[in-house]
């Protein structure tokens, strides 16, 4: 077309005008650290495995999850999910039910028989793992995946440690535990049961091990001195829970008093109720707010009819089971102080749930070790003072939970691998945390958390079926999709859509986006409108 000069213009001609030169600051894509990942003691990349789950790609999600933690079925039941406490969505409505999705993935993996990929190569290095609890199993798993030859030596008759002997069946069905342990062992890990390592150096030398990871659980119950008559029945919580695994169930009687305020106390009280006790009373010297047990477990226990006497200490236990209890009052610093006010309680048995210690005898005589407050001191690389001997779980100073133990196992495995190869493992720089303020939550729909249906209360009290049933696939998908993907692009296309200058290039599924700085004027709308805070502005350097 012979177009009139200047008045009529050809399409596409504006591309000659590179408006990027207007810019004083530029948007850049980044990955921020989601608070759930940051809070996870096991170092799971939660946002990432939820991302796969959101698409219904459960196996991919499970593989992403188990890249860090091989026990999702266990975690989904017993983890106290600090991730959910940190979840930004909690500031919007309710946290994402990460734990329940994890459990769904764990169960789905067991149901479908998904297996771990065997190691790609063998290093020829040998690592001894002492203790088949969560920390030892997780360490063994990672070490095996690195290609090392791993042997686990366990003092008890079964693998699982506290997962088996400290957590009641109603919270962790044994087929789940057994399934996940077996899958780890299927990687080609040798497990030797009923063998107590008496001397670690000797055991390493005898087996030709290049390194060892010690993960002995805290199985020794702490004691408190309570004057008691000779006929008084006093037990400790660890043995009560352990004996639940055997043929002979513990004899607790009809009226059971549990002394302590941790999760173990609750486990015992709830177990007693299930064993037929008509009355299960927890005596705790402080208030509910101060109780170390998780509140949701307290709530479930109260619903089951467990009674709790707050601000009370047990003074003595007379023959015939009469307990003398003194009322306490918090002082201005929040510590319980005796009031002199006394009452009595009738009990057939008193179960002490006052904490546990670790048997550290295997370390006797090992030079360079430092033991303090009943635990082994380790460096940031989880190595003890003796080169090649690493430790984790209950043995080292830390919170004693399955998840923390699993985290130790993973972290130790990485350091052991680094130590074995001669290249110390350096943890990658952590990204800045994705805060709630980084998000633009308008773009997320509002939906309540899928509340996991509770089993009928009566049924729960009398059996050891699981208290909390899992999500079905529909609910799991729903729950996963509530994830805000904090700090990590989930390809919502907002930046691509909201740029007034079409200066965002969409790279296709899985490949995210890039900026076309030829045209980006640096307005920053993409940053404001990114739902998940995966873009930030940086000053333009001229």
């Amino acid at each position: 077309m012979d177009k009139p000069f200047a008045i009529t213009l050809d399409v596409g001609s504006s591309l000659a005008n590179k408006t990027g030169s207007w810019r004083t600051s530029r948007p850049v894509y980044l990955d921020r650290l989601p608070p759930c990942n940051h809070a996870c003691p096991a170092g799971e990349n939660i946002q990432n495995w939820l991302f796969h789950a959101e698409g219904g790609h459960y196996e991919a999600a499970w593989r992403a999850l188990t890249a860090d933690n091989p026990l999702p079925g266990v975690m989904g039941r017993v983890c106290y999910h600090p991730c959910e406490g940190a979840c930004n969505r909690g500031q919007l409505d309710e946290p994402v039910g990460i734990n329940s999705v994890e459990r769904f993935l764990g169960d789905e993996a067991l149901r479908r028989g998904w297996k771990f990929e065997p190691p790609a190569r063998e290093t020829g290095k040998r690592v001894l793992v002492v203790g088949a609890g969560p920390s030892g199993l997780v360490a063994a798993y990672h070490l095996r995946r690195f290609g090392h030859t791993v042997k686990i030596v366990e003092a008890g008759p079964f693998a699982g440690g506290m997962m088996r002997f400290g957590i009641p069946k109603y919270r962790l069905p044994r087929e789940v535990l057994d399934g996940e342990i077996q899958r780890i062992l299927d990687l080609g890990i040798e497990l030797q049961l009923d063998t107590k390592v008496a001397d670690i150096r000797e055991a390493m030398a005898a087996g030709g091990f290049d390194a060892a990871f010690l993960a002995v659980g805290a199985h020794i119950a702490k004691r408190a001195f309570i004057p008691a008559g000779s006929a008084a029945r006093m037990l400790d919580a660890v043995s009560v829970l352990r004996s639940m695994e055997g043929e002979d169930k513990p004899m607790l009687g009809r009226r059971v008093v549990v002394y302590g305020g941790g999760n173990t106390a609750l486990d015992v009280a709830r177990t007693a109720k299930r064993l037929g006790a008509s009355e299960a009373i927890i005596v705790y010297r402080r208030t509910r707010e101060k109780m170390p047990a998780h509140d949701f477990e307290v709530e479930e226990a109260l619903q089951e009819g467990i009674l709790i006497k707050w601000l009370s200490t047990i003074k003595n236990m007379a023959d015939g089971g009469t307990l003398t209890v003194e009322k306490m009052a918090l002082d201005d610093k929040g510590f319980p102080q005796p009031t002199g006010e006394i009452e009595t309680l009738e009990a057939d048995s008193l179960v002490m749930a006052l904490g546990q210690d670790v048997d550290l005898s295997l370390l006797e005589g090992v030079p360079g070790l430092e033991i303090k407050d009943g635990v082994v001191q380790v460096g940031t690389n989880m190595m003890t003072g003796y080169p090649g001997v690493f430790a984790g779980g209950d043995m080292v100073p830390s919170e004693r939970t399955v998840t923390v133990a699993a985290g130790h196992g993973k972290k130790a495995a990485r350091h052991i691998d680094g130590w074995l190869s001669g290249n110390a493992w350096v943890p990658p720089q952590k990204h800045e945390i994705a805060t709630f303020g980084n998000l633009n939550t308008w773009y997320y729909s509002d939906a309540p958390k899928t509340v996991r249906p509770l089993l009928d209360i009566m049924r729960r009290k009398s059996t050891f079926e699981e208290v909390v049933s899992g999500l079905d696939e529909k609910n799991a998908l729903f729950e996963a999709r509530r994830c805000l993907s904090c700090g990590n692009c989930f390809e919502c296309d907002n930046c691509y859509g909201v740029c007034p200058d079409n200066a965002v290039i969409k790279l296709g599924p899985g490949n995210r986006f890039e900026f076309n700085y030829d045209y980006c004027k640096g307005c920053g709308i993409c940053v404001s409108e990114c739902p998940c805070g995966a873009i930030k502005m940086v000053p333009e350097t001229i």
């Binding site: 504006s14 729909s445 691509y496 909201v498 004027k521 307005c523 709308i525």
Partner: protein, 330 residues
């Protein structure tokens, strides 16, 4: 109105795209094959709401018509920043004639299409609020009244921005403009003035009238797509913040548009043949202060002593809209 039957909680219904949706359920803007009717290299200010709104609307219309769109543009920012010789940003057949005649020129284009048998080619007229509610109002009303097969898009940034931010009949009460300065006993634009062109459009009994916002792309695309499925005169009034004229941060353009909607100051509704048939409920209601405070044109309301009386007036307007259009949903 039902935009999407399935709720996707992570990505929501409100983001541009959604990797979990089927390709044909995503927004036009999510698609790499979108027309980019208004191409890169245009000279709109940083964070221009009008540039965004125009691309949103025209791209949606292009998809709805299998790319058979001719656009007529009134004089104004959109025209000036998109077609300075020797560069045009338009990827579609486009004509600019005058400030006040876009609707009439569009009527002419439609007549030409009809008489030459090209009725598959659809015509859009577009202009700013000045070119629509003021100087182009006569031609607009004429086009409506004849029920010409034109979709008129008004990109409302609430003043004459191209000429340097002067008041138009779409300027809201209390807003500072170059011709309603924030001085004297009654600073900013006078309360109780201005006109509501969507309602006036409805009074013409034309088949379709809607309001839309750059803050709600899915809603906007839904309305443009719906409009392209209808023949006769149609009008969509799109709220497009102007960082320059409103004294707001360029990054806040969509945020401010969203607050206008969520406060009730800019109600999103649809009307067919003169009757309101749909409204887009407010999702998270906010007081008008949150909207006003982000804009320097309202800064005089938040001086040492907040002008609570005038803020209350603005809030009353929002409340009235909410009640009138039932914006709080069920």
């Amino acid at each position: 109105m039902e935009l999407q039957t399935v709720k996707f909680y992570q990505t929501g219904t409100f983001t541009v795209g959604n990797r979990l949706l089927a390709e044909d359920e995503r927004s036009v803007q999510a698609n790499t094959e979108r027309t980019n009717s208004l191409n890169s290299g245009h000279r709109a200010c940083q964070g221009c709401g009008e540039a965004l709104g125009a691309r949103y609307a025209i791209d949606a219309a292009m998809r709805a018509t299998n790319n058979q769109i001719i656009a007529v543009n009134a004089t104004g920012c959109l025209e000036v920043f998109s077609t300075p010789y020797p560069e045009t940003s338009w990827q579609i057949p486009w004509i600019h004639s005058l400030f006040g005649n876009a609707a009439a020129v569009a009527s002419g284009v439609v007549a030409a299409m009809r008489v030459t048998g090209k009725t598959d080619i659809r015509v859009i007229a577009q202009g700013g609020d000045g070119g629509t509610t003021d100087i182009g109002f006569g031609c607009l009303s004429g086009m409506f009244e004849r029920n010409d097969d034109v979709l008129y898009l008004c990109y409302d940034n609430e003043a004459y921005m191209n000429t340097g931010v002067q008041r138009s009949s779409a300027t809201p009460p209390a807003a500072r403009t170059a011709t309603t300065p924030a001085i004297g006993p009654d600073p900013g634009n006078v309360a109780g003035t201005g006109k509501n062109v969507p309602l006036i459009a409805m009074a013409h009994n034309i088949p379709y009238v809607a309001t839309a916002s750059v803050a709600n792309l899915r809603d906007l695309e839904f309305k443009v797509t719906k409009a392209m499925g209808i023949h006769g005169a149609r009008y969509i009034h799109i709220h497009v913040p102007c960082p320059l004229g409103w004294g707001s941060a360029p990054a806040d353009t969509i945020r401010i548009a969203r607050l206008a909607v969520e406060s009730g100051l800019f109600p999103l509704f649809e009307a067919e043949h003169g009757e309101v048939t749909g409204r887009t409920p407010i999702r998270q209601r906010v007081p008008v202060d949150e909207y006003l405070k982000l804009q320097k044109r309202f800064a005089h309301l938040f001086g040492k002593e907040p002008d609570t009386a005038r803020i209350a007036q603005v809030q009353a307007t929002a409340d009235r809209n909410i009640a009138r259009f039932g914006l709080l949903g069920d």
